[in-house]
């Protein structure tokens, strides 16, 4: 199962990025092979629609789970349409959150903010 997380940089111990749409990279972690891959987020620097574009990248990655501190409404619509479940991160680093998710410690993200242009 593939897990997507917005992250600050391309290192193994990277932190989760506070923004979904504006995260510079997405870490796509495969829980079976225990391997990760970093996808650049072209949307990070765009003025409008960053959330939608970022969501498209996550959908195209084939991930089934998204771990993120927050998510705009438009992006959440795109994510949910692909049957990807969204969970809220509670730890600082990406790996801590993945471990927590696999141990069933994360809750689903309920507050979806309307956000300016859903970014």
């Amino acid at each position: 199962m593939k897990i997507a997380i917005p992250v600050d940089n391309k290192s193994k111990d990277t932190d989760v990025c506070v923004s979904f749409g504006r995260a510079p990279f997405f870490l796509i972690y495969d829980s079976e092979s225990e391997e990760g891959q970093f996808l650049p987020n072209d949307a990070a620097k765009m003025t409008g629609g960053a959330g939608v574009k970022a969501a498209q990248i996550v959908v195209d990655s084939g991930a089934k789970i998204l771990l993120t501190p927050r998510c705009g409404k438009n992006a959440a619509d795109v994510i949910s349409a692909a049957d990807i479940s969204i969970y809220k991160t509670i730890h600082k680093t990406a790996m801590e959150n993945i471990t927590a998710f696999l141990a069933d410690e994360l809750d689903t993200l309920d507050e979806i903010h309307a956000g300016f242009h859903g970014a």
Binding site: A43, M46, G48, G49, A50, V52, K53, A55, Q56, V59, N74, D77, V78, I79, A81, A82, D83, H117, G118
Partner: protein, 287 residues
């Protein structure tokens, strides 16, 4: 003569000036292009309102025809489209460029109308009041301002003066608003922030090669960084509106000072004369 009134941010007295100049100009038009927050009508309280809806074209998809090729998603530079099991269209982000509709190989996309705001025209004594209003959550006010440009061209045909109350800032909606302006008035407050805001609009009018002058607002004795900026940059100061609690009170009560108070009527008439004199000189030197 089409005169645009601009400022770098809201609340600097842009509307105060535009409304009062229009009120003393004998049968002028006042066009409110500040479509996100049009305030001029609160002063003019125009009657016999006519309301026209402004619409734009946005795409709609026929899911049976769409084969998910993603061409439209990759094309849309506003990211208004996504493909997630089916094509999703985000109306509020779409800028109505029409590109995706032309491009779709399956002809799965067609256009439909979406209302984004309205234009209200009315009369307040001898002033024609035209107000553009944008619905909330709309991507861009530009189509409404384009519609307002038609009114500006129409109203200025018989040689009457048109006062254009522009949106604050220097973004594309402001550029669009001054398109048909013969002369621009920049309104500036006497503070360091005031100078920063003045710089923004100054750059804009320079870029568009418009003739312009500055009106200083809320002027008190003492330092006025905006005045210093004008002097240093050789910018014509058309006049100064004093800091006056009475003017502030009339204004916050939605009253037009030039209609309520003879002193202010004289003041704004004199300011208008100064503006028109300057604008005529400028436009004859640089036609």
């Amino acid at each position: 003569m089409n005169i645009a009134i601009l400022s770098g941010k809201g609340g600097t007295g842009k509307t105060l000036l535009a409304v009062n100049l229009a009120a003393v100009a004998n049968g002028a038009s006042y066009i409110d292009c500040d479509v996100e927050e049009p305030n001029g009508h609160l002063f003019f309280k125009p009657d016999s309102l006519e309301v026209d809806t402004v619409t734009v074209k946005i795409p709609q998809v026929n899911d049976d025809l769409c084969d998910g090729c993603l061409k439209c998603v990759e094309f849309c530079r506003f990211n208004a489209l996504a493909y997630s099991n089916k094509l999703m269209i985000f109306d509020d982000i779409c800028h109505s460029c029409g590109g995706c509709v032309l491009l779709c190989p399956q002809k799965a996309l067609t256009e439909k109308d979406k209302a984004i705001g309205e234009i209200r025209t009315g009369k307040s004594k001898d002033v024609d009041v035209v107000t553009g209003i944008m619905n909330s959550g709309v991507a861009s006010g530009v189509p409404i301002i384009d519609e307002l440009q038609k009114h500006i061209r129409e109203k200025s045909k018989d040689g009457k003066h048109v006062f254009i109350d522009c949106p604050p800032g220097s973004s594309c909606v402001v550029m669009d608003s001054i398109k048909n302006a013969d002369y621009c008035i920049l309104v500036a407050e006497p503070s360091i922030f005031g100078v920063h805001n003045l710089e923004m609009v100054h750059e804009l009018v320079e870029l568009f090669e418009k003739d312009y002058g500055v009106v200083l607002n809320k002027v008190q004795t003492g330092e006025n960084p905006s005045e210093d900026y004008c002097l240093a940059n050789d910018i014509n100061i058309l006049g100064s509106i004093p800091f006056d609690p009475e003017l502030g009170l009339l204004n916050s009560n939605g009253k037009i000072a030039a209609r309520e108070n003879t002193e202010y009527n004289k003041f704004f008439s004199a300011l208008l004369d100064a503006v028109l004199k300057e604008a005529r000189v400028e436009t004859t030197i640089n036609p």
